[in-house]
Amino acid sequence: MVKKAQVMRVNPKKVDTCKQATSLILDYLTGELDSKTKRAFEEHLMVCPDCVSFLNSYKETIKFTLSLSYEDIPSEMKKRIRRFLRDNIG
């Protein structure tokens, strides 16, 4: 069960707390906050170094996830799958 409180459904005009700011990060990064809420979020960042640090590490985490790389399919495996399919769809 996902905790719904993690993402704010109603955008506040004022962002007084770090808890509020944290709940707005996702929409802030995708540009989905309305202009008033965005301004309020950024005003909170101006006075809260903790939230700036938190936001930076949140963004860096996304970058690390994006940078995960994966190998191509091994050629032997491709051959095995091809054989399997030939045996099973004939």
């Binding site: 996902v2 996702l26 640090s53 938190f54 930076n56 995960l68 399919i73 399919l85």
Partner: protein, 216 residues
């Protein structure tokens, strides 16, 4: 009715290069009619993409191989269910996601990790419980090699629920828009966002913890 003029070309069969939309449509028509050469062309063209997508979700070669096998078996047997309302690649992507999610759900959980342990915690007044929050992004290079960080992220990804993992994979690794993730996984956009945010907070918490700071 399959147009007679279309024959599976050597280039199509090799899976190399781009398939035009029209060529792909004709190949799929042939697959629907049970043409094995056309199926082989589709297999060769898409197998690497399906494998990478499967691997990202299931996290190991053996399970990814099972997923690829099953996906292409389904493509051959259920091709008729593809009505052409979306791109074939989108249909295939959804099929792969669903087969991989089923595989993940069947897997026995090794160790239950509490996501809450890595979530940010707040004081009654709504400010961060542990202050200062350390900005480890400033000197990340000093701490660990990127490879090590990638391992931590991968391990943490494997500790997410199958659905959360799928959401992160689609959003942060495939850059898929939330409405498309919502459609692919059959959950609301709001649920996609909630899962994504919570999963990112968890991944961030794991990285922060690994660096020796409080994840909360």
């Amino acid at each position: 009715m399959i147009p007679r003029r279309h024959r599976v070309t050597k280039k199509e069969l090799s899976g190399k290069g781009q398939l035009s939309g029209e060529d792909e449509r004709l190949l799929i028509q042939r697959v629907k009619a049970g043409d094995q050469k056309a199926f082989e062309a589709i297999f060769n063209h898409y197998v690497s993409r399906v494998y990478r997508q499967a691997f990202k979700l299931v996290g190991n070669e053996a399970d990814a191989e099972d997923v690829v096998q099953e996906v292409f078996l389904l493509v051959y047997r259920k091709a008729k269910l593809f009505l052409g309302k979306s791109e074939f690649s989108t249909w295939l992507y959804r099929l792969t996601a669903n087969v991989a999610l089923t595989k993940l759900r069947q897997r026995k959980k090794d160790k239950v990790v509490s996501l809450d342990d890595y979530m940010p915690k707040f004081r009654r007044d709504g400010h961060h419980l542990i202050r200062p929050v350390v900005d480890w992004t400033q000197d990340i290079d000093k701490f660990v090699a990127v490879k090590e960080f990638n391992q931590i992220i991968q391990q943490a990804m494997d500790q997410l629920s199958p659905m959360d993992k799928a959401v992160v994979m689609m959003s942060d690794m495939e850059d898929m828009p939330n409405p498309e993730i919502s459609e692919t996984l059959g959950i609301t956009v709001q649920a996609v966002k909630a899962r994504l945010h919570r999963a990112r907070l968890f991944l961030r918490g794991r990285l922060t913890d690994h660096l020796g700071y409080s994840p909360t």
